[in-house]
């Protein structure tokens, strides 16, 4: 009897296994998209907002039945790798993506990481979407990197010009963390400010990212009494402290940055002192956001407990990859096909109201289309939330 039960159980188990195997077989194929970026340490917020945006959108698309590229329907699978903001780790991450047969990667988040992975990406046929600004990544002969946001040399001049015309700004001071990204952004900002005719009264003061008291750092800058204080490349972790210290030292001028910030972080860290702080927003505002964007925010919040305003920009890279692949299914494992499609690609932008489209831009800055087109939204922080100062378009 026992033997009969055993045989029956085994048989049933086998049948179930075969049935579940068949079910798995009937499931969609996997489209693996990589993410190599910083998800730990002081800049973790940058990479985590990337990764979570991708995971939220992928889960949503999969829930809708997957994405149809050519004749095949795929479930989107995000393969993340934390590079810890270390170029060596970024290279290891990109090599892992290559070993996994992944051709499309979002990240890295910082300049040195994005520059370090370039040879690996080019040798292994990987298109990658860095959030890093060095022009050489996007200008020929480089062709595998696509800038995933608006660069500081595009947003900076727009902000300075706006403030010159609307607030009478004549003098400007720059302060930056002693790291490659903020320093290069500071240098770009200084160049842009001088080109616009602004008087740069201080640009040599830098700080360690782990500074706990910014009063001594900012004291010599504030003594120059600039009309505008630019926090070049400031991380969301440092921005509230710098703003607070500047205001506590009696600075009453304008403060701005060209990086994206988070309203909750500013409100918690600097409160009312952050009122008037100008930053580049995520590529969405309440006026611009479509119902899809609003649902994305809801889903993100439901999945991860709290939304990150930076995801207003970070939501785009995955969408560009998928829509470009839809436009040319041959690009699924051939990045040369992807590059060919980029020049003429256009698709409806699901995250914006109206007739906005997803297109690749960058001819003016890079001489080739190696940048995703997202609106340049410049925000002003006021009483715990961002208000749109102006919106512009970049090419």
């Amino acid at each position: 009897m026992k033997r009969r039960v055993f045989l029956a159980t085994t048989g049933l188990s086998l049948a179930l296994a075969v049935a579940s195997g068949s079910a798995a077989w009937a499931e969609n194929a996997k489209l693996k998209i990589g993410f190599v970026g910083v998800t730990s340490g002081p800049a973790a917020a940058w990479g985590i907002s990337n990764q979570r945006s991708m995971e939220t959108r992928a889960a949503w698309l999969n829930e809708l039945g997957g994405v149809k590229i050519g004749d095949t329907t795929y479930d989107v699978e995000i393969v993340p790798f934390d590079d810890q903001k270390d170029p060596k780790r970024a290279i290891a991450g990109m090599e892992k993506m290559a070993q996994d047969g992944i051709h499309y990667v979002v990240g890295p988040n910082v300049d040195d990481g994005a520059a370090a992975v370039r040879p690996v990406a080019e040798q292994n046929g990987i298109m990658y979407f860095p959030y890093a600004f060095p022009k050489e990544l996007y200008t020929p002969p480089a062709s595998n990197a696509i800038l995933g946001m608006v660069a500081n040399y595009q947003s900076g001049p727009a902000i300075y010009k706006y403030l010159m015309e609307n607030s009478g700004v004549k003098t400007v001071a720059f302060v930056a963390a002693n790291e490659s990204d903020p320093l290069s952004q500071r240098d770009g900002g200084v160049e842009a400010a001088k080109a616009l005719g602004l008087d740069v009264v201080s640009a040599s003061v830098t700080y360690q990212v782990d500074t706990t008291d910014f009063t001594p750092v900012l004291l010599p800058v504030i003594q120059t009494a600039p009309d505008l204080l630019v926090l070049s490349g400031v991380s969301p972790a440092n921005a509230p402290q710098l703003i607070r210290s500047a205001r506590e030292l009696g600075y009453t001028g304008l403060i701005s940055t060209e990086t994206a910030q988070d309203a909750t972080v500013l409100a918690e860290g600097a409160g009312e002192l952050a009122n008037g702080f100008i930053s580049v927003g995520g590529a969405s505002t309440p006026e611009l956001a479509s119902d899809t964007m609003k649902e994305f925010v809801e889903r993100y919040t439901k999945m991860f407990g709290e939304y990150n305003d930076e995801s207003n920009t970070k939501v785009y890279a995955l969408e560009y990859i998928i829509e470009t692949l839809k436009a040319n299914p041959a690009a699924i494992d051939n990045v040369d096909e992807f590059k060919k499609t980029m020049d003429t690609f256009s698709a409806p932008n699901p995250f914006m109201v109206g007739d906005a489209t997803l297109t690749y831009v960058g001819m003016t800055s890079f001489g080739q289309k190696r940048q995703v087109s997202v609106p340049l939204v410049v925000n002003e922080f006021k009483d715990g939330k961002f208000e749109t100062l102006f919106v512009a378009q970049v090419d």
Binding site: S40, N178, T206, D210, L219, A237, E268, E306
Partner: protein, 289 residues
């Protein structure tokens, strides 16, 4: 000049408090606690949760940080360091364990509190301004005074309480203390708990001023090690001196060297290397340990 001195004293007070916990653990157990910075961050997040999320008064948040970190420290000592110290005579075993705990706490902090910078509202508004010669927000003055009060309280506790005397005996000579009837396990656990509690308290105090984020642990540990290297590892007065010296060096450097870029810490490290080459035991440490 007044501003530089005030900045240095403010930084020094918070640094000294951070270094105290680290040096206490080192003196009692000969353990380099690489997770000290993560404990500081954990304490900051506990205060943030109690004050900003639960809406309770700041003092409650501070007490919660002290209690949570003290319990955490006691458990870490009892279940992790004690068995390892018992089984291994090699110093690197506890160093590796401490490094492992640091990574573990980083992961726990990310899971529990997220990746964002957090902060709590200012506990006191307003700025002290002495004719633009000395500008200091009142909350910083208050935090600096609280830090000094905690340091004084700690010294008095170590000097006059029975537990403090037992821990000092343990730090001076572990075997002799044991022979004199000091319960080594018990006081090691209390010492570790106090060290962790101090880290948590500083994190809680500073969350009102600098905020807190996941990545602050490592750099905080490095600064704490710098302080005890300057003052002498395992010496309470040395940790306090190291904290104030580092704070003052940072304040002076950031003002005087600002025009040359961010070379303050470069200068501090070079100075420290030269200093340690001449006096490897630090200002108040003993060459024999």
């Amino acid at each position: 000049m007044e501003q530089i001195l005030a900045n240095g004293l403010y930084l020094g007070a918070q640094y000294a408090l951070i270094a105290l916990g680290l040096t206490l653990i080192f003196s009692l157990m000969n353990v380099l606690n690489f997770a000290h910075g993560q404990m500081y961050v954990f304490g900051g997040f506990v205060t943030y949760t109690v004050v900003a999320q639960l809406g309770l008064p700041f003092i409650v948040g501070l007490l919660a940080s002290a209690v949570v970190l003290a319990v955490m420290g006691a458990l870490i000592e009892k279940f992790l360091f004690r068995p390892v110290i018992r089984r291994s005579k090699r110093d690197e075993s506890t160093m590796l364990l401490a490094a492992g705990i640091a990574f573990f706490l980083d992961a726990v902090i990310l899971l529990l509190f997220g990746e964002k910078q957090r902060g709590v509202p200012k506990i006191v508004n307003g700025v002290f301004n002495w004719d633009m010669r000395l500008i200091m927000p009142y909350d910083r003055i208050l935090i600096a005074m609280a830090a000094v009060a905690l340091i004084v309280g700690f010294i008095l506790f170590m000097q006059y309480s029975r537990t403090g005397r037992a821990m000092r005996a343990l730090a001076q000579d572990r075997v002799a203390a044991q022979l004199m009837g000091v319960d080594v396990d018990r006081y090691s656990m209390i010492g570790f708990a106090m060290g962790a509690m101090l880290a948590g308290l500083v994190g809680g105090l500073l969350v009102t001023i600098t905020g807190i984020n996941l990545g602050m642990g490592g750099p905080t540990s490095v600064k704490a090690f710098l302080m005890i290297m300057i003052g002498g590892a395992g010496v309470i007065s040395g940790a306090i001196a190291g904290g104030f010296i580092l704070g003052m060096m940072e304040s002076v450097g950031l003002t005087v060297l600002a025009a040359y870029g961010d070379i303050t810490y470069l200068v501090i490290f070079v100075t420290l290397m030269i200093f340690l080459a001449i006096r490897p035991q630090g200002l108040m440490g003993k060459p024999w340990g």
